[in-house]
Structure formats: C-alpha cells, structure tokens
Symmetry: C2
Subunit: 305 residues, 2 copies
C-alpha cells in the first residue's frame, strides 16, 4: 500500500481535507468553504464538490492509496452508504463511498463524522491503545462516537450514539432541544446552549469561546454556565457508562479550552451518579487532536476497510 | 459432544437447575431452597451447595457434556470469574466456573444471571434470530442483559447494562433507589416499587402480582401504578436505544402478566423520547420463556464457550 491517504471532514459550511501518512502525520491540509448543508443539496452536488476539491490534492500527490471521509449523517454499518442526514433531506441511501470511488478511481470509505473523530482519538490521540472509547464532540450540537472492542459501533441503522439527546433533566424546567424534545444534554452543553444560558444569567450576548475565556478569567456568570454544562455532561456520561461499562471518555470541541473548570464539574456529577463499584474508575480526557480528530479517523478507517 | 448440558440459575433464595438438550428442550428441572445471599456466604459454601445439588442430576444422567450457570454479580468477560456480587460481599475474584469444573470434573461456564436470560431469549425465545438484543428483567430489582452482534456484552469490568439504574426522574420528586441514588427506573418498575406506589395511591398493601391482577380487572389505582411503571420503563429504554440503536427489546418478570396495560404505556413513552428517525422502529416484546430464560441461556453459553 502507498503510504498516503486523502482524508476529509465534511461540515455544514466547511470541508477540511489533508494528505495523511500511516503514522498520522498530516502532510498537507486545506479547508474550503462549501455550503453543503441545505435542503436542496443533492448527491450530484456533493460528489462534484468533493471531487473538485480532492483533485487538487491528487494532482499534487499521485501516491494516494485511498480516500476516507467523515460526513454528518447516519451510515449503514461500514458500507459507506449514507442512510440519511438530518440537515440534508434530499440525501437518502446515498452510496457516497462508492460514487466517490467511481469518480476518483481510488478506493473510498465514508463514515459518520463524530465516529471518525472517535476513531482518530483511538488511533492517534489521548485514547491511543484503548480497546473501548466513548468520544463526545461539543460543537453546534453535542455528538458522539463509540468504539467497542477496537471497532467503530454504528448500531442497527447507523443511529447509535445519539449522545446529545440523552435526557439530563425532566419536568417543566427542562430546556427545549433542537430535536423537538426537552432536557437533552445538547440543550445544556452545545455552543448555542452555553451562549443562551450565559445570556440568561448576565443579559450579555457572547459566543461560547468568549464565555469560556471569561470563565478562565474568573467571571462569575461564565463560571456558572460552564459548571452547569459540565454537570449535565457528567450526568449524560454516567448513563452511557451504566449501560456500556467503558472506562475511557474523550471530549473535543471549543469548550474544552476551559477544561480546568469543565473537568471537575463533569467528574463530580459523573461519580455521584454511577453505582458505587464504578465510582472513580472512569477517566474523562480532553482531546489533544481537536479539529483534526475527524480527519485522522477518516484516514485510519481507510486502512481498516 | 453429548447432547445434554446441566444448567442452573442461582437466585438469592432458590437455585433452579435442569438438564437441557441442544434444541432448548428441558428434560428435568428441580428447584431447591438455598440461602446464598447473605454476607457470610463464602466460595466454599457456594461450591459445596452447587456440587451437592448438581450431583443429583449427574447421577441420573451420565451424558452431561458441560455445566452452565447464571449467577447474580459482575463477571470478568467470558472468563467465568465473578469479580464481585453486591449481596455477597465475601466473594471477590471468585473463579466460579473453574472451581465448579474442578469439583465436578465437567467443563463449566458461569455468567451474570440477567445476561444469561438475554442469551436464552436470543437462542430460544421471542428474540430468536436477532443479532442484537436488549433484555430487561423485572423482579426484586430491574436488571438487563445486552447482546451485540450475537455475543453477550459484559463491559470492561462486567458491569455493563446496569439498566435498572438509568435515571428517569430528576429533581426533588425523584424516588429514592436501593443503589443510594434517586430517580432510577428500578425505583418505579421493580416489584417493590410497584407495591409502594400502589400503597401511596390506595393505602392498601399488596404484592406486585396482586396489583397487576387488579389492573387487568380494571381497578383504577392498579392501572395508574402499572401505567407509570410502563412510562418510566419506556423512558429508560429510549436512553438505551439512543446510545445503542438496537431494534429489539424483550422484557421478562411478573409484571408482564399485565402486558396489555404495560406495553402501550412503554411504547408511548419510548416513541415520544426517541429522535424522529428512530420513532416506530423499535419492537418491545414480552418474554415467552420467563423464568426459564436464565436456565436456557446458561445452557446456550456452554455451547458457545
């Protein structure tokens, strides 16, 4: 096998891609703005956008053995077929990997973006060497990827690890969530939820990055907001641990910039919820790869395919 | 391999054992009263009790190829080693399968009792032919067993599927649970929780069997109690499905006697909690094996070992 793969992480507004070698070293990385997250996006427009972008890399480096991509949506097992994608309603049973492979004449794999990030953490990040991993992504939403016995876990219809929609609050005070439900952890720990809680406390509109920076500087309302997000994350993690008995959890996303505040809140809440023999057994670690985890995982998946 | 195995299901006060053939047919079944659930129970007393009982079967049927047992507690993977058991504090890293095998001179396997029941449902019950299964046991406590890709799932320290301790209520009205926490599904759907809720509504002390019989006869307080138990079970099942994306759930235990009331309450609550693309995809089925599921699963595990 050639030593290089081309990996990409597809977001709603940006596509990041890189040439990556077998040790996880990133040799070239580019990011383009491409609006793929609207209700008119078709299979053809996705394939066209990706092949145009990927051909820039392929022209520079002829020794690309495989292409691996992380894409937001539900994939059927390891087939590379996208069953559906919440923000891209025209894509149904989209043979993404196959069509990309045909267009580029290079073997291709495709998998859920958060699951790719979990694979990246396992192969190249702080979870290296673990057998099982629960990886949580804090961003616009709260997502997750699960590794069981070294293998990405997708569930029966590619919808496993809807971690962001675990319920951490019941009753009339539960926050509404974008899924239509109430009290989901995403409604407390996503970037917009953090901004909204901070606004409720302070009357000031700030983005989540500004809030965690204010928290680090000691601002009271920012600290309260982040502690509450950490507390709710710990509750959701405890539910996953009770079912799965996994000992390693990693978290990526902007909020981990305030890890010194977030981590104690997570651990306190997590350990208070677990059954006694599990208390103190779980390590929750901040990602060291952050926004490269998805790229690295997509690269690793081409080698596992 | 001989066509017979000896299987046993070890409870706190009773031990059930049977000779079972490869088709799941039970040829002989006995139940003895044996108090193994106290804080002074030792490894030696467990082995002695079991070998005395098992020798009754072995004397009758010489063609027993293996012994398989289900035991309450946390097992390390498929090793047959009991890491610990909440009600039997003297048992730690107890090589149950190995010691039993040495004592009887027959290969032996041992696994968590609820997980054995899940294996029984998968091989011989309503979940036959499924690849993945979430099995819930409603009894003194609320337990569970998980099958992923045909294999029993134990977690990293044998503590997976603490289903009874998933939280379905937060805040000051949450019921206290035996684990020390609040709002666990066990605090709403176990036999004693059902009895306690019925008492709160009616002022009458009844056991859970009497309550489900009253519910079937149309008694208002009994119906409310069972609907609430079903509602809370649906909430806990939804959390497991969000993480695992499993499409088949089975439930065993006395309360399923009132399935016509319990099932609609479970399904309404479950579907209202799932993310939209998962709604309507999950089947929740009553066990047809009931208290034989554990025996049959323990038998099946000897053949998988």
């Amino acid at each position: 096998m050639s030593k290089f793969v081309l990996a990409a992480d597809i977001g709603g507004t940006n596509i990041r891609a890189a040439i990556i070698d077998g040790t996880g070293h990133i040799h070239e990385e580019k990011c383009i703005s491409a609006h793929l997250s609207n209700k008119n996006t078709t299979e053809q427009s996705v394939i066209l956008t990706l092949t145009d972008f990927f051909n820039i890399f392929i022209k520079k480096e002829s020794q690309i053995a495989a292409v691996g991509i992380g894409f937001p949506g539900f994939f059927i097992g390891n087939s590379g077929v996208l069953a559906s994608s919440p923000n891209l309603p025209k894509l149904k049973n989209f043979k993404l990997a196959q069509m990309l492979s045909d267009a580029l004449n290079i073997p291709a794999t495709a998998q859920n973006d958060a699951l790719c990030a979990a694979v990246g953490e396992l192969h190249f990040g702080v979870a290296k060497g673990q057998k099982n991993l629960l990886h949580i992504t804090l961003g616009t939403g709260v997502g997750g990827g699960l590794i069981l016995n070294h293998a990405p876990y997708t569930g029966e219809s590619g919808m496993a690890m809807e971690f962001g929609h675990l319920r951490v609050c019941h009753g009339p005070s539960a926050h509404p969530c974008g899924c239509g439900g109430y009290g989901c952890v995403e409604a407390y720990a996503s970037a917009s939820a953090v901004a909204s809680q901070y606004f409720d406390l302070s009357g000031i509109q700030l983005n989540s990055k500004d809030i965690y920076e204010k928290a680090i500087q000691g601002e009271h309302n920012a600290i309260s907001t982040l502690k509450n997000a950490g507390h709710k994350l710990g509750m959701a993690i405890s539910e996953a641990i009770k079912l799965l008995d996994i000992h390693t959890v990693t978290i990526s996303g902007g909020l981990i910039g305030a890890w010194s505040l977030l981590h104690p809140a997570i651990m306190e809440s997590l350990n208070s919820q677990l059954i006694p023999p599990m208390q103190g057994k779980i390590q929750v670690l901040p990602s060291t790869l952050n926004d490269q985890a998805g790229l690295l995982g997509a690269a690793a998946l081409t080698r596992l395919a």
